[in-house]
Structure formats: structure tokens, C-alpha cells
Symmetry: C2
Subunit: 449 residues, 2 copies
């Protein structure tokens, strides 16, 4: 959405121009949502006065949660609850869970049938129950195809998707599914139970959203039904919500690799300096302790360092390389595990290959640094080159092993490898690298002094 369009609309809005509604009709709710986010409070209210409750609901659903909350503070409660009624149940619940408790109470008193929304509010946001909407089509198995098409036409306006029709038994248990394509090409007069597919892929209400996304992606689904522990149908999750989950989960992993987490509820651009720092400092302080520990390890070699100060010049390169290789190994392993590229039975095979990769990269880097050291500090050649080369080789190989092994062990113990691996890997590979380096130097001490 170019800034010019937004400017133009604001101008029309200020002039209370007649063209405004025409232009707004042509805009996709997503684009309108973006415009609203850029308006002043009173402009927002004015613009929403031009929209029907249904249109308003569509626009609000496309806004960021933090902007939805801001808007709901501006709208009066009467209007807010009418719009809320028109929103799809998953979106309404997401919004309600961000609003202050007293506002939620007041909004719900104005809505007649709150059972559905209150039922959804009890599920954790990042589970199938938290993602699902209750607007789906479920029909009994003993009706005919024509009857099904008839009911579908009636229900079409109220549901999230008409492309899948779920078939349930008397106890609301999910027993089959039919796509609209299958329904319209089914033989006239057949019962739903004759034409439905019975091997339905569904998820339980309490399944983690990452697992839901994996299933939808694996089986190329447009919609996945959600069932409770009794097999009763509770809702559906549509693929557009899965796209958001995938993006969210990838961001979460990326942030964990970098040792931070998202500021929940507020988007990053609007979070305060304190909020951002509070998310990033804990990990930094853990690493600070780790870094100090590396320092104490070094202090054990004070004598060696005093005798050959040149040794200190290679500390940055050895630490950097250990860090880089460790990060590569952890990242590739954790991501491949997350995307399913490495399966459970392949982890150890992958680990042993990674050792060989580390060995190969260690050899190349060891030779490279050895040559560089001999040229740079030629008066100490060839011994300094040998020490630095051996240290580099061992550090790189060890970093590859540690970088894979630690997330692997965390994962085996059921912890999130992306979350836990970072600070441990950093400290362990630093200490390992430094110890190897100084021990090798001590071994060749008489050649170097």
C-alpha cells in the first residue's frame, strides 16, 4: 500500500468527501486495515462510522492485535460488541484475550450467546483449540447429497469455509469428510455415509500449534478439523491461520538462536526500549558469566601468556572460529529437526556425519591459520604455526561436535533445542578452544621461548 494512497484517503476523510465510500468499497480489507493503523484516533472512529458491522469485522480481523486493542478503546461499547458478533470466533477470542478484563465482561454482556466464545477462551493461544474457529459445516451421515447441498447453501454465509463438509454421528463424533468438489460430483441420491472419506486427518484441541502446522503442511490441507478427547468435533483451523503460525514459529526459532525472544502482544516497532532490553538482557548476563569463566580458564595460563604475549593475538581468531562453527552446527541441526528434514531415527547418523564435517573443516582452517601465523610471526616459525594450527583444528572439530551434541541432548530430554542451546554452546566451545590452545602452547613452550 503506497503512502500516497493513504494520504489521499486521509484527505478525503477530512473533507468528508462522497468519493470516500466508493474508494473504500474497492479496497481489500487488508489494505483498509493498514490505512486504519496509520490514522489518528478520531479519524479511525470516523472511518469506522462509514462501515457496516460486517465490513468493520473484516477490517479489524486483518489488523495487528496491538492496533485492534487501540481501536477498541476508541469505539463505544455498543458498536464494539456489534462488530465483535460479526467476527469469526477465533479472531474474536484472540482480541478478547488481549483486552482488559472489565472491558471483556462489558462486551460479553451485550452479546446474547457467549457460550461459544467463553468455551474458546479457555484454550491456550498456541494450541489447536486456541487457533480454531467454530464456524464450520457438520452434517449427519444419513442425509442425501441433495439435502447436503441445500443445507450448505443456507449455511454458506455464516461459515469460515464451504469447501469441506464434515460428517458427524449422533454424538457429534467426527466420522467422515467430503470436499465440496466431491459433494457436487457425487451421484444423486447417495447418502453422505456412502460418499464420505473416513480416513480424516484431525487434531486434538490441546495439540501444539507447531504440530498442527506440520500436519497441514505435510498433507497439503486447506482445513484441519479439531476434535476433543471423545472424538467430538469442536472446530476447524484454516490454512491462512497456519501461514501465520509458520511465520511466528520461524521467528521464534530465529530469535532463540540469537538469544532473545519476542515482545509479546506489542509489535517490535512499538515496544519500549525497556521492554526490548528486558527480553535481551537475561541471555546476555548468562553469557557474561560464561565469558568470565573463559577468562578464569585463561588466568590459569598466566605464566605462559606472560612468556609469549604473541599467543594473545590469536585468541580472537580461535574464539571467532569456534563460535562460527558451533553456531553453524547448532543452527543447521535444530532447523533440520524443526522442518523434519532430519527424522528421529536419523539423528545419530547425522551427528556422526557432522563429526566428519567438523574434522574436514578443522583440517582446512588449521592449515590456513598455520600458514598465516608462519608468515605473520615468522620469527617464531614453524612452532607458533604448529601450535595455532593444532589449536584451530581441535577447536573447529570440537565446536562442530559440541554445537550438534548439546542441542541433540536437550532435544532427547524433551527441551526445545532452539531455546536452550545458545549460551551453553558458547561457553563450552570458548572454554574448550582456549584450553586446547594454551595446552598446545605449553607443550611446545620450549620451542617458542
Amino acid at each position: 500500500m503506497p503512502a500516497k494512497t493513504i494520504q489521499k484517503l486521509i484527505k478525503l476523510l477530512k473533507q468528508r468527501n462522497q468519493d470516500l465510500t466508493n474508494i473504500m468499497d474497492q479496497l481489500h480489507p487488508t489494505d483498509l486495515a493498514e490505512i486504519v493503523e496509520n490514522l489518528e484516533e478520531d479519524q479511525k472512529k470516523e472511518l469506522f462510522d462509514l462501515l457496516s458491522d460486517e465490513e468493520a469485522a473484516l477490517v479489524i480481523q486483518e489488523m495487528e492485535e496491538s492496533d485492534q486493542v487501540l481501536l477498541f478503546k476508541v469505539l463505544d461499547k455498543e458498536r464494539a460488541s456489534s462488530i465483535l458478533k460479526e467476527m469469526s470466533s477465533d479472531e474474536a477470542v484472540d482480541l478478547l484475550s488481549e483486552l482488559p478484563q472489565e472491558d471483556v465482561q462489558e462486551l460479553l454482556t451485550r452479546i446474547e450467546d457467549t457460550e461459544e466464545i467463553e468455551g474458546l477462551l479457555k484454550y491456550a493461544e498456541d494450541t489447536a483449540g486456541g487457533l480454531m474457529t467454530t464456524e464450520y459445516i457438520a452434517l449427519p451421515q444419513n442425509i442425501h447429497v441433495e439435502e447436503a447441498i441445500h443445507r450448505l447453501r443456507e449455511l454458506a454465509a455464516e461459515v469460515e469455509t464451504v469447501y469441506y463438509i464434515y460428517v458427524i454421528d449422533e454424538e457429534n463424533r467426527l466420522i467422515g469428510v467430503l470436499s465440496l468438489r466431491e459433494l457436487i460430483s457425487a451421484k444423486e441420491g447417495s447418502l453422505l455415509s456412502d460418499v464420505m472419506r473416513t480416513n480424516v486427518i484431525s487434531v486434538d484441541v490441546d495439540v501444539d500449534q507447531e504440530e498442527v502446522a506440520r500436519l497441514v503442511s505435510r498433507y497439503d490441507l486447506l482445513v484441519i478439523p479439531v476434535v476433543d478427547e471423545k472424538g467430538s468435533m469442536r472446530g476447524i483451523i484454516t490454512v491462512d491461520d497456519i501461514l501465520d503460525v509458520l511465520e511466528e514459529e520461524a521467528t521464534e526459532d530465529i530469535y532463540h538462536f540469537a538469544g532473545t525472544s519476542e515482545v509479546r502482544g506489542v509489535d517490535l516497532v512499538n515496544a519500549t526500549v525497556f521492554q526490548v532490553a528486558a527480553k535481551r538482557l537475561p541471555w546476555l548476563l548468562v553469557c557474561l558469566v560464561g565469558g568470565l569463566f573463559s577468562g578464569t580458564v585463561m588466568s590459569a595460563f598466566e605464566g605462559t601468556l606472560e612468556a609469549i604475549v604473541v599467543l594473545a593475538f590469536f585468541i580472537p581468531v580461535i574464539m571467532d572460529m569456534g563460535g562460527n562453527v558451533g553456531t553453524q552446527s547448532s543452527t543447521v541441526f535444530v532447523r533440520s529437526l524443526a522442518t523434519g528434514e532430519i527424522e528421529s531415527n536419523e539423528v545419530w547418523g547425522y551427528f556422526f556425519k557432522e563429526i566428519r564435517v567438523g574434522f574436514l573443516m578443522g583440517t582446512v582452517c588449521g592449515i590456513a591459520i598455520s600458514l598465516a601465523a608462519n608468515v605473520w610471526q615468522h620469527e617464531l616459525a614453524p612452532w607458533l604455526g604448529l601450535v595455532v594450527g593444532i589449536a584451530m583444528f581441535s577447536t573447529v572439530t570440537a565446536a562442530a561436535i559440541i554445537g550438534t551434541l548439546i542441542p541433540l541432548l536437550f532435544w532427547k530430554m524433551g527441551a526445545d533445542p532452539a531455546l536452550t542451546a545458545g549460551p551453553f554452546v558458547t561457553t563450552i566451545k570458548d572454554v574448550t578452544g582456549l584450553v586446547i590452545y594454551f595446552y598446545t602452547a605449553v607443550l611446545f613452550m620450549d620451542k617458542l621461548t
Copy 2:
């Protein structure tokens, strides 16, 4: 898919058991694909002999590309080309582009109408043209709703989706769209041109797949039509392919952060040690040069270091912290840019906030390390604490600035910030950290010796 099921099927396959086909009928093509990937070459061939061309095509489409290639080597050319004909055009083209040139020629000679496939082969794999399939429904604007439903029923079996009907003019230009839901609830007797929506969101054939994914996700689309420079309709991209793109792009970014890239065409578990090392070594060697550069910077302070060896003990913690903060800043910035959380007009505002975040984190970390240094090396207190504290404060603040500014500049110049930021940020923040540290030490030299 549990390993037990796979074992059971292999057993049935070996026994040439009658139950096998029954079980296979109940399996989702995705699950069958996974089983095939775990079979021996002759078992694969045997299992495929039990499948029709159409079923085989569905299974192959769900396999990893590397496994598709292996399978096509086992199947005879006659069978392979019959299966290829049944595959959707985007999948067929992806597979063909991985096969050796002579095999492609031989397979194509057995297919009558190769124009479509050859047309698709010319698009780059990571563009809209490379993703699209040509099996879609496009109807002229001047037919009636009933006629459209009739044609749709005829075409249903051959197309990728029946849920969107595209409306074209005489020159094949895309002028409108109708969902199946809209079509079936349209008033009888209306022309398509009366009921279609004209503001169709489409992409050009040469648009990058990342941009396609962004559009589909932004507008919650199930399908996006692809047009050429003249506005003629060329194909459609369905949301299941977008899920794969999102995963692929997130992996690419994650790998770039870690300074490596994917091994294309082969999955990671099957790539050789040399292939993996070849992808990771280039970045390591760049960093090795950067690390050596940090060493030469340090060597300029050889005298200072000789006089106060204790200074060396704090090198790891200062380097680590600079590295961590730099990584946090780059990662959060680059990812927020990729997901659209930071928009173009917000970058500088974000950058200035990041400076304040860096300042705050620098203050906390500086005080923490200063206290730690005074306790640990109490005979040099308070001066060593002051030096280390100032150095930590400046390094953390500088790392936050550099970690954001460098990807920002790369992005402004049109380069991929995820790709280019890594090695530069590492070297620059290392050098900055070390120079600040030793300069501060020189300033307080007389207090420390």
C-alpha cells in the same frame, strides 16, 4: 508414520500379500511417499507396479526431490513418462529440472503435448512462473452462471483447484475472479461478467517467490493467479506450495544468519561430507581473515598487554558480549524486515531506538562486569573495573549500532541483509571492541601498573 507400519508393509510386500493393496488404499499419498523413500530399489519398483499411473503421480508429488530422482532412475522410461503425464504441471517441471538432460529428452519424446511443460521449464525455480501450475479454470466473461457450473463439472478432474474460477477476455487477459461459493450462490441467468469480482490480486510470472508468499499470506488467499507482462493469465499458485516456500525462505534466512547455505537438490541427511563442508567453509575462511585482522589490531597494543597480562583475561567476555549483542541486533532487525513488522518508513526510527536499547544494555552489562572485575582482580581495583566496565559499555552499545546499521545499509543498497551482514558485523564489532578495550587500558595505564 511409525517405523512399525513401514516394517509391516515391507513384510507384506516381500510376501506379495493380498492385503497390501487394501492397506495402501487406506494410506494418504504423503504416508505412502514416506514408505517408498525407505524402501530398497527393487521394492520401490514392485510397490509402484501395484499403483495406477494416477496414484503413482500423487505419491511421487509428495516425495523429496532427491528421492523422486532416485525413483525415476529405477522405473523404466515408458512407465516414468505415463506417470509424468498424470503429475500436475508444476510438480512435473520441478522433477524434470532435476533429471539429467538426456533423460528429460527421452521422457518428453514419449509425451504428446510437451508445449506446456517446456513453457514452464523456462521460468526460474524461485519465481511465480517456477511455482505455478497450468491446471486452472478460466472461463470467458459472456457465459451464464449455469454454463459455468456445467463446464466446471467437466473440468473438475483435471484442475488443481475448483474453488476459484478465473474470468478472461478474448485475449486471455485476466479480468475477474469468482469463488465457487460465489458461483453457486449467484442468481440464475446472470452473466459471469455481472457477478465476478474485478479487483483480482495477481502476480507477474517473474516475481520472486518470497514476494508471492507475502501476498498470499497478507490477503489470506488460497490461490493466486499468475499473469505475464501483457496481463494474460498463465497459471495459478496454490497455498500448499506457499507453505513450502515459507518454510524454505525461513530456512534460507536462518542458514544465512549462521553463515552457511543449503545444499540444493540433495537433502542434508543425504549430502556428502564434502558437499556440506563446501557450503560452510567459504564463510569460515572469510571470518578467519577477519579474526586475524583483530589479532593484528591487538598486536598494536603488545606493550600494554606485556605490562598488564591480566587484561587478556577479559578479552573473551568482551568479544563474546560484542558478538552476542551484534547477533541479537542483526537478527531482530533482519527478521522484522522480512516479516514486514518493520516497514520501509520505520527503519530509521527503529535504528534510533536500537541505539537507546544498546545504551541501556551496555550500562547494565558495564556495571555488572565492572563489579565482577573488582572482586576477581581486587589488587587492581578500582581501576581495572573501571577500564573493563567502560570497555564493556562501549562495546555493547557499538555492537547494537553496528549490528543494525550494517544490515540496514546492505538492505538500502538492495542486497539481502540476511546474506551479507554476518562476517562484516563479526569483524567490525571484534575490532571495535578490542580497540575500545585497549585504548581505555592505555588511558589508565599508570593506575594499573
